[in-house]
């Protein structure tokens, strides 16, 4: 194994690794790093993999794929795109609330909301909550001018953030300090138990590589001992990479489609597909409750 055993031991024990230690861990060979992350993940969160079915709500007509909403019962309703005005956003949330009923209604990136400068962030978030929103989907920490302030505003508005995420790919020099920044944030906001370490953006000219992705997942698992859930976006990263990421420390798959085309047979439905991929990776699939 090409891995520093002393650092590996500290990671196993959940100790706070330094930038230098994270750098060294990150330069281990990919299989050794993956094995360690897999071991740590099994010890911390067991052998189950959770997944969330999401029905995306896009606008006036309600749910995208509403025709396939037969599979939406029990799914999270999610508004991904932030409208241009606060009033339109409140309207869309109200519409989503009607659709969602008792099911979880989530929406938006915290960075998108902050970027609009509609007013004091805590006030805006309070209005979104009053309109019926249950939670903010994600806080892309690299895009937030002051992530700590923004997360405090969420706390003050009693509007939880489901996950800390990354907007743009991070280069190798900044990787360790970014992870330490994340670690500091989850210490300060212990209710946030989910991190999605794979970037939302994939530049066409230079998408992240498979090695980069699984290394990011493994390091997140090893550097963030208090984070229960390391998440990968099933819809964005696709079944192949998402499945492999499960063996590198991830234990949650987000954005599984609710649009099941059962005309092609039960095995071709999204839920069956995700369950099969989880089981084939050696884990037990468990759907996350969305109410």
């Amino acid at each position: 194994m090409n891995i520093n055993l002393a650092i590996a031991e500290r990671a196993r024990a959940g100790e706070a690794l330094t930038v230098a230690e994270i750098d060294e861990l990150g330069s281990s060979d990919i299989l050794s790093l993956g094995m360690l992350a897999d071991e740590v993940r099994r010890a911390r969160v067991g052998e189950s993999v959770t997944f969330t079915r999401v029905l995306e709500i896009t606008g006036a007509s309600g749910a995208s794929g509403a025709s396939g909403a037969s599979g939406a019962s029990g799914a999270e309703m999610r508004i991904s795109k932030l409208p241009a005005s606060l009033e339109d956003t409140e309207g869309l949330i109200a519409e989503g609330r009607m659709l969602a009923g008792p099911q979880l209604l989530t929406g938006f990136s915290l960075a998108d909301i902050a970027d609009r400068h509609w007013g004091k962030l805590v006030d805006i978030l309070t209005r979104l909550k009053s309109a019926g929103l249950d939670a903010i989907v994600e806080a892309p920490v690299d895009r937030l001018h002051d992530a700590e302030d923004a997360l405090k505003a969420c706390e003050a508005a009693d509007l939880p953030v489901r996950c800390l995420s990354l907007q743009s790919p991070i280069n190798i020099d900044g990787r360790s300090s970014w992870l330490i920044h994340l670690r500091d944030l989850v210490m300060k906001f212990p209710k946030i138990d989910t991190v999605n370490p794979l970037s939302r953006e994939q530049p066409v000219q230079m998408p992240t590589t498979g090695y980069e992705d699984v290394r990011a997942v493994a390091l997140a698992r090893l550097v963030l001992p208090s984070v229960k859930t390391i998440q990968v976006d099933w819809a964005q990263y696709g079944p192949k990479l998402a499945q492999v990421a499960l063996t590198f420390g991830a234990n949650d798959l987000d954005r599984v489609s609710t649009v099941d085309d059962e005309s092609l047979g039960k095995r071709r439905t999204s839920v069956e597909d995700v369950k099969r991929n989880i089981a084939a990776a050696g884990f037990t699939p468990v759907e996350r409750a969305a109410s």
Binding site: D29, T209, Y211, P239, K240
Partner: protein, 410 residues
């Protein structure tokens, strides 16, 4: 399972039996398989290189009488989407390929009853006349058998004539799973039985041609049959030493008769990595294993380099067969090299024989980036090459078409 005993055996170059391989394939942890495969790869390639070839995958015709039920590419004789590429079109493709640093065509196609052996000979000669250094990696074993049946020549005679016309090497396509039970279920038994496929390769190797070997898994075969496939290849390699590389990929079920009839789902990324790794361990007499990024995508394609692969295959430029079944991944040379280097290897261009040709072409030449693979033809292009009138058609549709004035290729 005593993994330590296997580790020792593999470390000392010991062979896996069918029973060993099955046990490991089914039960060994994925990371263990990866580590062992990586160890064997490093032993075979201590220089830390990962190679790739710049070539173009040209499908000269999609008209095919074989009708394999896993194939979304073929069209029946007389179908309005059926095509045959003209010599001029193929020359243009070669020119484009050379501009990107390409050194060969991977030329394969359907079993078209209206293309006699003379068409292939004339094409090969014409290519060699215009592009003497350009290599023809052409006609998989079932195509050779098809030509042998059509021309009533033996397989060795067909190979001799093709070599005389300019054939340089034979691609390992059409192997699917080299077990006749499976081949019958895939409706590809009649195009080539397992023995016939291997026999074409045996003859080719005896005549000094190098070839590759492939395996398409994830249809109706069992784990045992995948391993039987590998063991049959290993046996022939022991006998002739003529295979340069092994390439495996998962069946792409979209738009195929088999996928619909059996409700088949594509095998997962982890299954691919496990299959690749066990292949590295079983095929101990194969030097090179390619990563199939075309079917697995760039990310899992790159991860193949940790699971036994030492080669990124072809830069491709053009692809028609896998795309017809729903997969459309693309990596140009820049992207392939970036992936190789990111994984910690040195990227080198190679030819089909795995001779190193040099550093990445784009580093010394102005090359346009490409983010989508070309197709054999633009949509709606139904032109018929003028030279086809020179060759006798066998099918009624082909005869009728050739009796009409031809709409020439633009």
């Amino acid at each position: 399972m005593d993994l330590t005993a296997f580790e020792n055996r593999i470390a000392h170059g010991g062979r896996l039996t069918a029973a060993d391989a099955l046990q490991l394939y089914r039960h060994a942890p994925t990371y263990w398989l990866g580590r062992m495969a990586d160890e064997v790869r490093r032993r075979k390639h201590p220089e830390n290189l990962v190679t790739y070839i710049i070539d173009r995958n040209v499908n000269y015709t999609n008209v095919c009488v074989a009708r394999c039920n896993f194939c979304a590419f073929y069209r029946e004789v007389g179908h309005s989407d059926g095509y045959v590429l003209g010599f001029e079109e193929i020359f243009r493709k070669i020119e484009e390929t050379r501009e990107l640093g390409g050194v060969q065509l991977l030329l394969q196609g359907g079993h078209n009853p209206d293309l006699p052996i003379a068409w292939y000979e004339d094409l090969f000669r014409a290519v060699k006349q215009q592009f003497p250094d350009f290599k023809l990696h052409a006609l998989s074993p079932p195509e050779v058998i098809h030509l042998s049946r059509m021309s009533k020549l033996s397989v060795p005679e067909v190979i001799d004539r093709l070599i005389a016309a300019g054939l340089d090497s034979i691609p390992g396509g059409g192997a699917e799973i080299l077990v006749d039970r499976v081949r019958k279920l895939l409706n590809c038994y009649h195009k080539a039985t397992a023995d016939e496929w291997l026999d074409v390769m045996r003859h080719a190797h005896r005549k000094g041609l190098r070839t590759t070997a492939t395996m398409m898994y994830g249809t109706v075969e069992t784990d045992e049959e995948r391993l039987e496939h590998m063991l049959r290849l290993r046996d022939l390699q022991d006998e002739t030493g003529g295979f340069t590389a092994f390439i495996t990929w998962s069946f792409q079920p979209a738009h195929t008769e088999l996928g619909a009839a059996h409700n088949i789902i594509e095998a997962s990324g982890i299954e691919y990595l496990r299959t690749l790794a066990i292949a590295r361990l079983v095929l101990d007499n194969f030097d090179n294993l390619q990563a199939s990024w075309v079917t697995q995508g760039g990310k899992v394609g790159q991860l193949s380099l940790a699971f036994g692969a030492n080669d990124m295959g072809s830069v491709m430029i053009e692809e028609n067969v896998v795309r017809a079944a729903g997969a459309a991944y693309c990596m140009d040379e820049v992207e392939i090299v970036r992936n190789v280097e990111d994984a910690g290897f040195v990227a080198k261009r190679r030819n089909m024989h795995y001779d190193i040709l040099g550093d990445p072409f784009f580093r010394a030449h102005e090359v346009k980036r490409t983010h989508a693979l070309s197709t054999a033809r633009d949509a709606g292009d139904n032109s018929v090459p003028a030279e086809l009138v020179n060759y006798q058609a066998r099918s009624a549709a082909g005869k009728k078409q050739r009796a009409r004035p031809i709409s020439p290729v633009s």
